[in-house]
Symmetry: D3
Subunit: 298 residues, 6 copies
């Protein structure tokens, strides 16, 4: 082990000291949370995930035997600017800040931020494949009357052509949902694996299904922390019971080496509802799994 | 989604506005907790479950494609009167209030309330089948010297002929227990599936076992939240580790469409020990699963 | 004591059952929190204050010997509609809902809501006197670039002529503040009593100062819970140490019998940061003090 | 300092190792909490107070320069037996266990236990003087229909002649209360000092008032922890804002050297609502102040 | 059930009243936590585990049908002395206190204590077999520069010949780790089962693997609570997501009847990060499983 | 207000971006906590204080009308290196790192760190005056057998001649203490103002007493957060009830303009026991008051 001890590390993601936006892979926080329909507080997600990530600083991934910090040129570029209390203006700001980056792993903030990130990426790479972990389909047309908020992200992403719904798969879905919303999603070509399905299938089988859906094109990973059961991720805004265990999500991700990932986010960590940092640590570990995946695939 | 957002909904169960006791299916809170042998506080269970239920207001059950709120004539009739500090008087009050209702889903309170509810039902329908989720057999003769409290509910229910023990099944049992208490329970004909058994069997197999035991007669569902592992339900009075995950309980319940349920309760939610409402949300979701089951079976 | 016990009361404010908007005095929740510059979560303030208010249901005020519930025609009219994620639209909605009410005690939500409430009142009554308890002057021109949010409420209220700054007094001020903001406030005629001043003066003296400033015209009470020290009110978004004890705030309010209050709010209760409901109880008690004041003054 | 460090001390009160009931002064826990009208959980008060008391083990009282552990023959005799779920039977058990003790400092449990303790003492010493710290008068005739519970303790104590109301003084009163209950209390001769009064008077003046009321006869101290403001004692069942600071209670007690105390209790500590043990530590310190008072007066 | 109720039991382990160090099996707390590299606080582990153990006092193990309290001569001998702020001196003290005991189940404290316990045992019994549940291999050469702390326990145990690495198995490993540390461990002959492996294999299969590795010689069980997922054991210092469920650990332990266990510890319970005692209860239950195993094997 | 909002600021102290050790005034964290005799966890104090300090970033001190960030050349130089698990080695490291700095405001960590800081300063400036806020005298000769830990800091500081005891004053003392320890302290010339004394005197009078004791020579401020009552600072290791309110500490500090301060620390913030950051915010505010004092005195 290298000094200093975990508790004394600076609270950047994985303790990285680089901050330049021209890095190979950038970590950025996006502290937007005004589009949540239940509990707010995801604005403090980025800093909580950074702090928790310090448990993962030192050593290699115990399956891939690669240390993301050593293997990738990582920079923690801090938090994106947002417009206080204004969703649309914030989406524009986020897109503008994401656009120039080579590869971004974003720490939410709530799920609305993904729409801006997909807009930035799709301009460069065309419609993307999407691996979407979530308890909710997030393909509602609106959110209690608000067009742009965390429940309509993928409605807009599909309508705007940012993702290719036939290369889009949702894992862990389990919330109540209007049948017409669910059917619309299926009708666009999206593959949905409910949480109950996921519990009854082996992670390797689920990974194979994902690989099959997204194929070889550029693909985005959007990980809503509420895909995990509230036991594993209490610190989130719209929890639903019956979700995945963290080990399942890890095992699935470990089976996605062949996917061409071009960006990712982990969203909806609301630290005020977390306990002993377990949600933040789960989120940090998902990003770390992603980084190990990227590092291994080169 | 319909307005208002989740966080602004009134705290009735699933936001229902009907309050009449002549509804097809009534929700009632029973804030009794003086019969707990360890942590108290289940008196605040009903209001916590109601608040948490708001996450489930909007949309259909994502397997049955039925929305309980739209499909059933539901009323939240508030809390039952109880006698402060007096178990026996409270049991009489509860029975009297439950008796006239067509179909009751009760929000505990501690498990002692189930005895009163079974008394009310058995008078109308004779000895009942029983699906009993719990960490504890609850067939002790007494509770540290007290005849009527939460550990002796089913001893009395069997002795009073309220349930037919050959049509009674317990799932999730795992607490320390005197062998004579366990053997007495078995000797009456009760089927016991321990938590360790449950973890090693598929939920569909467990559902089949339940259906086989309870058969076609009128059956009651009593769901002690401590059947779940404390990771999933910390907010309870007598936790035992090694319990079920919430998804398992949901999967089992989803396999019980053919059972003729005539009433249910979810008990032992103690909010002072909960975190981020996860226990209350689990309890609310169990009731919601039950309502979807009832709605589907008509 | 009347039945049922406190823990079983329905969670309306002071347990009142009237809900009609034509009542003499209406209680409404306003679950807006997207204008907060630090911690969010005040959207759950109204329901937390209502629950906590149940400690105060039964009996008379132990100085005025009047029971607000018995003496006033009170209605809890539920929560105001707001526009999810849109401050300006929410302000318009709030104003429209407040306008027809005879007398409103509002449960926030964050401080931005006060601007809408003052707009509604000023249209009917002209520029108002203002008794403003707060740690912050809230007379910034903007909030990190956002014109309308919780730090600029009284800048706009003064600029729009909703309040008469010479009849406006702020008590408990103590946050860092730019000297030009402070001076602008004083230059408009506002009286400022800092928290340090307040600690060194008797509550009766402070009440006299307030009465002197607001005089005889119609006056509004805006009580930001962060005027209290975080020890007494941890559950808030922008805490500042060095604040008032709750007893001081009560003592000051008890000295304001002669003020002609025409409305009030208590804002910035963020339950996710509260502990054991102490912040919510403080907020509920402030409203109860206000109701006793109104009831006594008739 | 003597070994071992605080964190390793056994969790008896002040770490005392004596357990014999014939000690000069006995500490006993009374884990009854079924008579609470709001939050339950005081059953865990005794063990929480014992754990917290370890901060006070080592050294002398920094005003009296006496170490209670060294100066008194103290025994921690464990918890009294109670009857689960049965108030009346519990009161009889408590009285029987208290009766033989020379001098008892009792750790509640809720306030109902004081009635049993006064019954035991009054049989030996006749009607007692009473120093009663509380937010509530506790002289209601009943508790939501229940004769014996924590709100009617002193109604019964007065009616049964256990205390001499003219030698009884209540400090810190501030809850809503029916005027007839308040007036009944005054009419019996009880002196009431409200919390607002207490805040405006010097502790030495309050101590003089107490000494004047209780005079020279045998006197009991009943300290309901809710006399403290919830900021200082959040871990209690029926909190009321506006209460005393702990230093005030200590200062008052330090002025009572001339009072002939014959027993005491500290009640209503509900650890599930406490934070960082601050309520339990306040309770332990009150007992420690009492012990220093007793030790000094010999 | 025997009196008193759970909440009133004295806080010794399983409520045992024997304290003599010559008992057949001793329980001792070891409140050392200065060797933790992240969160501290395990010094309060022993008392938290004792309190939580009271849920397990009454009745038989529901698979083995043996009550450890009745079947074994158990003593809770309190906490070992340690040297405040001095790891090396503490290790010497711990070894000296452990040496004379016939059979010890130790309650940590952090994992460093195991080194001292192994030293004491190995002197009597030679190199031991080791069943090691943990998220971390704990075979680092040092801990951020410190030779003896909780990450280097088994490096020293192997180097000092206290354990036979060919009879040593680690279950649940999943933290980041330098490949050379992992390889060194394997090169010594240690068997490692990662958490991901464990999730994909049946507990009975894992138990068979353990039995096969440790064989028939004297064997030690060291159970670091962080082998459990943070959902099941949040109250620990160096959590890693993706861990075991408690039921899995129990199921594995239940398959180890044939192992000749000569001592055990459960370590790294940090109560300040626990919630509702779930971590402490898991730890207490693991000890209880061990005791049932020992009792059954005689 | 300047962008970004509080919740998005980087977690340096007061958001300062300078990190050079040659700044006019440096902020450093010292994450040592192994010398605590009760609760540990102060190792996380520095980062908690930094996060909380963001509430104070923007604006001037509302009495001195000076903004410390704008007026001083401030640098946050991160955390000092410490030796894991080794107090003596850590003291040497701390002293060496502090020595070259022009002026240091240190964020503890526990109180032991002050000894190293005084050693560094006294070498440069000779025996110092000392303003010491604390619940404990910290002049014990040892700490449960350990010479150097948080209870013996000022014994050593006096014995080593680092401070001039006749220019040393302790404010807020209230813990139990052996009379010989207290008397030794007085005999050296130290002035002690107990918490009870402090509550009965005006802050301006206390400030005058401090000024009178420390006179004109170089003076150090050591602020143990446990000088505050646990209501105001629950997040600490050795709490004592009866302490100061935060406003009192602020008022006293504001009266010390004429003191020649050459360094300061705030110690014993243990975030695991904090709630809603109130302790960390109190600590951050004390440092901010100090900075405003320094800035004003130039």
């Amino acid at each position: 082990m290298t000094e200093p001890p975990t508790f004394s590390l600076p609270p950047t993601f994985l303790g990285v000291s680089k901050t330049g936006r021209d890095a190979e892979l950038c970590i950025a926080g996006i502290p937007l949370d005004i589009g949540t329909t239940n509990r707010s507080g995801a604005r403090f997600g980025p800093e909580a995930i950074r702090r928790a990530s310090r448990m993962l600083v030192d050593g290699a991934h115990p399956q891939r035997w690669i240390d993301p910090v050593a293997s990738l040129e990582l920079a923690d570029i801090g938090n994106f600017d947002i417009a206080l209390g204004d969703i649309s203006a914030s989406l524009a700001l986020i897109e503008a800040q994401a656009a120039p980056l080579a590869h971004l792993a974003a720490l939410g903030g709530e799920h609305t931020v993904t729409l801006a990130l997909l807009r930035a990426l799709a301009k460069k790479k065309g419609p993307l494949g999407l691996v979407h972990f979530d308890a909710h389909v997030d393909t509602w047309r609106d959110n209690f009357g608000q067009a742009y908020a965390h429940g309509s992200v993928f409605f807009h992403a599909i309508e705007e052509g940012l993702v290719d719904p036939r290369r889009m798969i949702q894992i862990g879905i389990r919330s109540p949902v209007q049948k017409e919303v669910f059917d619309w999603t299926l009708s666009k070509g999206v593959t949905i694996i409910t949480a109950q399905d996921a519990h009854l299938r082996a992670p390797s089988d689920l990974a194979a299904a994902i690989r099959s859906v997204v194929g070889e094109g550029p693909t985005y990973l959007s990980f809503d922390i509420d895909v995990l059961d509230p036991a594993f991720a209490p610190g989130t805004g719209t929890p639903e019971v019956g979700g995945l265990a963290t080990w399942q999500a890890q095992a699935i991700l470990r089976g996605l080496e062949t996917v061409d990932f071009v960006g990712m986010d982990v969203v909806e960590v609301a630290p005020a509802y977390d306990h002993a940092e377990i949600t933040a640590l789960a989120a940090a570990t998902i990003v770390w799994e992603y980084l190990a995946l990227i590092a291994s695939s080169r």
